[in-house]
Amino acid sequence: MLQFIVKRLLFMIPTLAVISIISYIIIELPPGDYVTTYINTLMEAGDIPDHVIENLRHQYGLNQPWYVRYWKWITRFVRGDMGYSLAWHQPVRDLIGARLLYSLLISFSALMFTWVVAFPIGIYSAVKQYSVGDYVFTFAGFLGLAIPNFLLALILMYLSYRYLDTGVGGLFSQEYTTAPWSFAKAIDLLKHLAIPMIVVGTAGTAGTIRVMRANLLDELQKPYVMTARAKGLQYWKLVLRYPVRLALNPFISTVGWVLPSLIAGETIVSVVLALPTAGPLFLQALLEEDMYLAGSFVMLAASLTVIGTLLSDILLAIIDPRIRYEGAT
């Protein structure tokens, strides 16, 4: 087991390296260099001594080849210094930190929503294959797949305005935005979480239902199911105890594949619903060419995905010994 984890950890290093290079390319993409713009802004505000400018140029490695600049950036990034946001006049780390937490909260609850909705439906569709319910769910699933996230957000926003008479933008009601944490504030947060959770989760639900249905159908045809039935085990008890558990395994292993789409979904839904998460901050940074902020976001989002994949791999190895032994040899 330890060997498996170490192997997976070592494998992460090249992945993270490639991700960091792509992120740095994004930072350097816009024409003109960022530090010059920054120095110009400082100059406008008033005279600054030459040695400060020189210091800044040195610090960011201007006048040096790109790989030196990249190295300076990544070594600082690893130590937690993600650069400075020109637009916000704040270190990127302070800006992103709290918002990323909300992003993770939404993504995680969306994943839970997907599973809670999709697993029972998938099981039902497999057990009652070709029933009316099966067709209805398949169609609904297709529809969920076809509606882009931001559209679903717009539509739900419109509906809840029309029929529930509540505003759905933001993560907190006005009176709680700046209030210190309390039980009431947490409840308020949960209320506002519902729509983003449903929107982000729906996109994945359709696919999950289909995979769950296919997995379970495969399992249900296996001889052990027939044996158990022949021995007189109650049908539902049997289904839930053995085939369902086996059919669930692939989901644990594919959490890593779901994470990128969750992060992507969360980004856009947050923009539409104006949630105080990392997504809108990222879009704004891109539009204002605030590249350290934008690059850090890409880097963090991708790294989190990789870490999530690692965790799901380890989880699967714990659950399914076959993987463990295969990975160790």
Partner: protein, 386 residues
């Protein structure tokens, strides 16, 4: 095979043979039919896929003949009809008389107490809708100058069947023109991913070993990337002063950067699987060269499957473009795509006041569903011997 059964009845009634003879004949025809015919027969049985294919053909007719289908020019502003709701096409006038030619009433703009535009129907102005009318002149594909439109009711008539936007531009015309960019970007992007995927996946699957390992690792890493943030970052970096065409091609390129990975995986998997098949071994033993085997045996054997996978990956491209444009980092006005149109429906106040601005969404959903169903149908039909 239930297909041969259903067609055996046709064969019987046609030739007057006994059922058994007809059966034999059909069976023979079945075994002798080329794969394409079999694929088509199987695809045809998938009703939903056929309906979807028809829908896609209509949408692509819009792509090629947008100028002809759109009743107005997409950039023309009819200020006196700004923010007009969808017009009702009528057959009965206010007195209950039936008109065999559909018509629209005139509309007059008014301001309500909150300075919002409202429209009053003017019942003494009637505009009959005709087919193949002369309208705004255009040059189809830059070649044929004409002014014929599929339908219209004259220059002055407020024939805004889907309403107008805040500048008084006809939403239906803009939707038809938006189809051009949105749907071609999907196809072009997939074509690009297709080529990249076949080359890279083929190399990876054929050579194996260290090349295969490196390519597979690269694909894994790219797939771990959250697509949308990467797309957003790359397309936001496109200079604002670029021409529409240039931005369009780069957006396509950006969408394909991650798109080829899925294709490459499928191609590699198929290569590995088919390489071991008996017919490939037979070809090799008869002295066929590697290039010949790849071209004549390997690629045709899984081409249909790859085409199905390609069809299924078009929707992601369409949604990608729409999303990017919607966020303001993709195509920008004056370019017209579904995403650009949806930008007008970005905030809740606009949607509540002008709900018809959400209509481009309907087309997005139809196109995505249609590609999914056609892809499903193709995937089932791809292996006609199954």
């Amino acid at each position: 095979m239930d297909m041969s059964k259903s067609s055996s009845i046709d064969a019987d009634s046609r030739t007057g043979l006994t059922l058994e003879e007809a059966d034999d004949e059909v069976e023979e025809a079945y075994y002798l039919a080329p794969p394409l015919v079999l694929t088509w027969r199987k695809f045809r049985k998938h009703t939903l896929a056929v309906i979807s294919a028809v829908a896609l053909i209509i949408l692509y007719l819009f792509v090629f003949f947008a100028e002809f289908f759109a009743p107005f020019s997409p950039h023309e502003r009819y200020v006196e009809y700004a923010e007009a709701p969808p017009q009702r096409l009528r057959f009965f006038d206010s007195e209950g008389h039936f008109h065999w030619r559909p018509f629209v009433y005139g509309a007059e703009q008014q301001m309500d107490a909150k300075f919002r535009r409202t429209y009053e129907t003017v019942e003494n102005e009637m505009y009959a809708v005709r087919f193949f009318v002369h309208g705004a002149p255009y040059k189809l594909w830059g070649l044929f100058a004409t002014d014929i439109h599929l339908f219209g009711a004259g220059e002055e008539a407020p024939l805004f069947l889907l309403g107008t936007d805040g500048h008084g531009r006809d939403l239906l015309s803009r939707l038809i023109f938006g189809t051009r960019l949105s749907l071609s970007i999907g196809l072009l992007g997939v074509a690009l991913s297709f080529v990249l995927g076949i080359i890279i996946g083929g190399v990876s699957g054929y050579f194996g070993g260290i090349v295969d390992t490196i390519v597979q690792r690269l694909i894994e890493i790219l797939r771990a990337f959250p697509s949308l943030p990467l797309w957003m970052a790359l397309s936001a970096a496109l200079p604002a002063n670029w021409s529409i065409v240039r931005v369009y091609f780069f957006i396509t390129l950006i969408l394909s950067i991650l798109g080829w990975t899925g294709m490459a995986r499928v191609v590699r998997g198929k290569f590995l699987a088919v390489r071991e098949e008996a017919f490939v071994k037979a070809a090799r033993l008869s002295g066929a060269s590697t290039a010949w085997i790849i071209r004549k045996h390997l690629v045709p054997s899984f081409m249909s499957h790859i085409i199905a996978v390609a069809t299924l990956s078009v929707p992601a491209m369409i949604i990608g473009e729409t999303t990017l444009s919607f966020l303001g980092v993709g195509l920008r006005s004056p370019a017209i795509s579904w995403g650009v149109l949806l930008q007008d429906a970005q905030n809740i106040r606009a949607i509540i006041r002008l709900p018809w601005l959400l209509l481009p969404a309907v087309l997005v959903i139809i196109a995505v569903l249609a590609f999914n169903f056609v892809g499903d149908g193709l995937r089932d039909a791809a292996d006609p011997y199954h």
